[in-house]
């Protein structure tokens, strides 16, 4: 069944490039929309149906996982993909370009869907490369100087990352003897026999993932790439691409028990904390809306990694929940920045002010997103940060817990700085005829805002039914 999600997308990419091209160009957008909605529906299908269909389409040598973690990732991919698609429809005027974008988006989805369902390290690496290839092209979509620069940095650092990951995979294979998740789990379950080679192998793989997820000091590419990419691509990048290609694999390795050596946990904690702090400090007083959000993205990934470092079930639950929240909230804020840019043509926050008066929907959803990501109740961001803090505290990491609480003050401060600059206060001169952004911007932001409110208010109901089972690894 999960295989279908890859096959459908692959088939779609192939079909729309067949003749008659004129016809397929017209329906490409709707096809992608349909497929992503289909994925959304798939995620919510009952489990029994999944297993039934699974026997039909899985083969022995290409097995798939469909545990809760994969489900959460598939759901995030579907949501963020849909949002990016809608914004692209509004943002990209030319039909040709939109067609190209849809092709790349589908390709990207193949990679991401593949990554989150495969069951061995090497296949995961393969899908990761598919995502990366699609994303390089998407970043240079507008073919200007900045875009080339951003893509180039991403390309160079990704090359280093893939080298490290390949090396790590090789080392692991030579010491463990297999790369399937099951084999890794069995090998690392017996802590006494873990050899130095395996540890270094995992370490190298982890370093590659650090680059992919943009942890400090491996984050150099990230702000430039996010800033240079066109708005829909930024949404995709920040919302899901870095998460599924970097953070997901870290979470998966953590839940497999591969990150058991204390030294690896300490590394996760240390790099997580450094990422939170430096990302947040760099986000403060940024002038460019998207760049600020990019640094904020770095900082939030730090929270996820910090939570992984706790190494407990609660820690994994917090990491997954925060990853989902971040996908929702960062897409929301990027949609807002795209909405503002679509009307004003600028991203310079110094040249903005009081836009909430003219763009009430954008302003309101932006406030919700900012408060939620800063961890203000009753929004969902509060609960995920709370879970992270509790997980750290229960794991005995009291200083890290205190640090996580204090650092969320920094989140709040740069988010409020953004709100004050862009949306609050008096409308600055020259924007008297500013209008609300188009329907294709408003719809996704309202839906995303509703999701974060709903998750926040409904948290007591989802905590026992959805959140905690996510972290209990059963396969």
């Amino acid at each position: 069944m999960t295989l279908l999600l890859i096959i459908f997308f692959l088939a779609a990419v192939l079909i729309i490039n067949l003749p008659p091209k004129a016809f397929f160009k017209k329906i490409a957008f709707w096809l992608a929309l349909f497929l992503l909605l289909l994925q959304l529906v798939f995620v919510f299908l009952p489990r029994s149906l999944w297993t039934g269909l699974n026997t039909l389409c899985s083969s022995n040598n290409f097995s798939m996982v469909q545990d809760s973690l994969s489900m959460v990732m598939l759901l995030s991919i579907a949501i963020v993909g849909l949002v990016a698609l809608l914004v692209a429809k509004a943002h990209i005027k030319s039909e040709n370009k939109l067609f190209n974008f849809v092709c790349l988006l589908l390709l990207c989805c193949i990679g991401m869907n593949g990554m989150v369902v495969v069951t061995d390290l090497f296949t995961l690496y393969l899908f990761l490369e598919i995502v990366a290839a699609a994303v390089y092209i998407m970043i240079v979509f507008e073919k200007n100087q900045n875009a080339y620069e951003g893509a180039f940095k991403y390309f160079i650092l990704s090359a280093i990352a893939t080298t490290l990951m390949l090396a790590g995979v090789g080392l692991t294979l030579s010491t463990v003897g297999a790369l399937s998740f099951t084999a890794l789990q069995i090998y690392f379950a017996n802590t006494a026999q873990i050899s130095a080679g395996a540890t270094i192998g995992v370490l190298l793989f982890m370093a590659g993932l650090f680059i992919k997820s943009g942890l400090v000091p491996f984050h150099g590419w990230l702000p430039d790439a996010y800033q240079a990419a066109p708005n829909p691509v930024s949404i995709l990048l920040a919302g899901i691409v870095t998460k599924s290609s970097g953070v997901y694999a870290l979470v998966r390795l953590g839940m497999l028990g591969v990150l058991v050596p204390e030294s690896l946990k300490t590394l996760l904690l240390a790099f997580g904390a450094a990422t939170i702090l430096i990302g947040a400090l760099a986000a403060l007083w940024q002038k460019d809306f998207k760049r600020m959000l990019a640094y904020s993205s770095i900082s939030q990934v730090g929270y996820i990694v910090l939570s992984l470092g706790a190494g407990t079930l609660l820690g994994y639950a917090g990491a997954i929940f925060h990853m989902f929240n971040h996908a929702i909230l960062k897409s929301l804020l990027f949609v807002n920045s795209a909405a503002v840019e679509s009307r004003t043509g600028t991203r310079d926050m110094d040249a903005m002010g009081g836009f909430a008066a003219k763009m009430p929907w954008t302003g309101a959803t932006s406030v919700i997103g900012a408060l939620s990501i800063s961890g203000i109740p009753p929004f969902s961001g509060f609960w995920s940060k709370l879970v992270i803090v509790i997980a750290l505290w229960k794991a005995g990491l009291h200083y890290y817990a205190a640090f996580a609480i204090l650092a969320s003050l920094l989140t709040l401060s740069y988010m409020l700085y953004m709100q004050r600059k862009v949306f609050f206060g008096k409308l600055i001169e020259g924007y008297d005829d500013l209008r609300e952004a188009g329907f294709l911007y408003i719809l996704p932001s309202v839906i995303l805002a509703l999701i974060t409110i709903g998750l926040g208010i409904g948290f007591p109901f989802i905590v026992g039914t959805m959140l905690m089972p996510v972290a209990i690894f059963n396969w």
Binding site: I156, L203, G220, F271
Partner: protein, 610 residues
Amino acid sequence: MMEYLLILPIFIPLIAGLLAVVEINHKNYIREAISLLAVAANLIVTYALFDKKYAFSIPWAGFGMDISLRIYHFSAFILLASAAVAALIALYSIMFMNGREKNNYFYLYFMLTLSFTNGAVLAENLILMLFFWEGLLAVLLGFIAIGGKGSFKTALKAFVIIGVSDLCLMFGIALTYSLCGTLNMSEVTLPMTFMGGVAFISLMLGAISKAGSMPFHSWIPDAANDAPLPFMALIPAALEKFLGIYFLSRICLDMYKIEHGSPLSITVMTIGAITILAAVMMALIQKDYKKLLSYHAISQVGYMVLGIGTAVPVGIVGGIFHMLNHVLYKSCLFLTGGSVERQAGTTDLSKLGGLGKKMPVTFGCFLVAALSISGVPPFNGFFSKELVYDGALESGTVFYIAAVCGSFLTAASFLKLGHAAFLGKEQPVFSKLKEAPLLMLIPMLTLAGLCILFGVYNPLPLHTLIQPILGARLEGHDFAGLPTNLFLVIATVAVLALAVINHIWGYRRTGSAIKAVDHIHYAPLLHGLYDRAERKFFDPYDVGLKLVNILALSAWRIDRAIDYFYTKIVVGFTQAASGSIKACHTGSHATYIVWTVVGLSCMIYYVAFR
């Protein structure tokens, strides 16, 4: 089903008050009619409930907090007495308050006070009682605040003082719950341990401060100046005494078996004795009719607290009897003060004089009430004071002496007041002065009549109202009739005679009734104390305010320092950090690769060579 009648005393005044406040037409008397109907209905209901024993309980918030009401002879007595006093004062207010501003709020607060008092008396659950108790606090604020210019400050003062004492009460209730595991008053038995003592003291402070005892007293004299006069007659003189002494007796009789001669008993008696003396000393030198009375309202509480604090039957009966008597004569005295204020336009004693001829009925009522409060036989005050003396003498001579000194000074100050206001030379401005209207005279006459009745025929209140409260604790005594201890009677009469001689001597010496007690006022040693007291040196509220000011100033200084830390140091540091981090992001991919390599090296180094 009959037990649900208990909600009537709470809801009748409540609804009447809400109706009265929305009726804003000044001309017709609908508002007055509503309130009169309400107090009359309240009186009838409480009379009907008088010898009943009902109780009911509805689960409410959990944790022992239920809506439970209970009536038995003690609460029924308090209910009936407060209903009667409230009815008389409502009648009085019709003429007194007529045409005043915020008249509708007056009736609202009046009715709410009555409703909440009834609720607090009926409440069986301590939390429910606390609810009504705090409701009274809120109403008190509004009631004083409608008085006029400057009254809001006084209202706030009263609010803060009573609020602090209510905190004590709240703490006491919380402690009681943790010690006894129940909040039902009749089930509570505080242990005779240290913590039980702490709970007792906290509850006791809440109760006596409601009654107006020291050290939570200082708002009452201010309120006498600022609040509408019926407020004084209704609340500090009557309802709060009922409520405070009722709760104090409940604590001492039911909840904590206070023992004669125990340290807690001595503590309560000391508070009573100090209250008697200090407040009456202040009353002595007042030059305003209402203010003088208000200090007596504090001083007389001392007798009740002293009596109940003795923990012997004679003292407790005396204390509760004194409460009833005090309400009668002090309300009556305040009402005469109101008549003087309304007819003469002032209550300043130096401007009054010779009113007795012009207002004979008021003067008569004043005379009866003044004789009662001074403890002259055969008026009611005499009998209750004798009982308190008896109990005090049993507990320690020093308390008895304090009580007798208080009696002497009370008599002296009322000689001064009566002489200055009603006798002496008639002031020319009052030549056309008339007696107060009939509606105001009826309440005064009723109260004065009760003062005489309860004195001359004291078995009536003692047998029907007070002695049943003690039940078995009475140990077969009967305190009705004439006092048995002849020595006490002789001493009392001697002290009263001394007070008269003192007044005459002082009057001869200075030639003025107001200055008749100047030899006490300006006595060496006392002079300095009085001076300081006049400058509010001993007012806990003002002392507290000064302390708070000092605290606030230092807190402000600390706050500035913290503020500086956050706005300058933290922000500066963050800006510097943020700036240098931004400066590091040069955009050169070579730099970023170097960072990556450095990071990777750190990871490998840490894992491999740790």
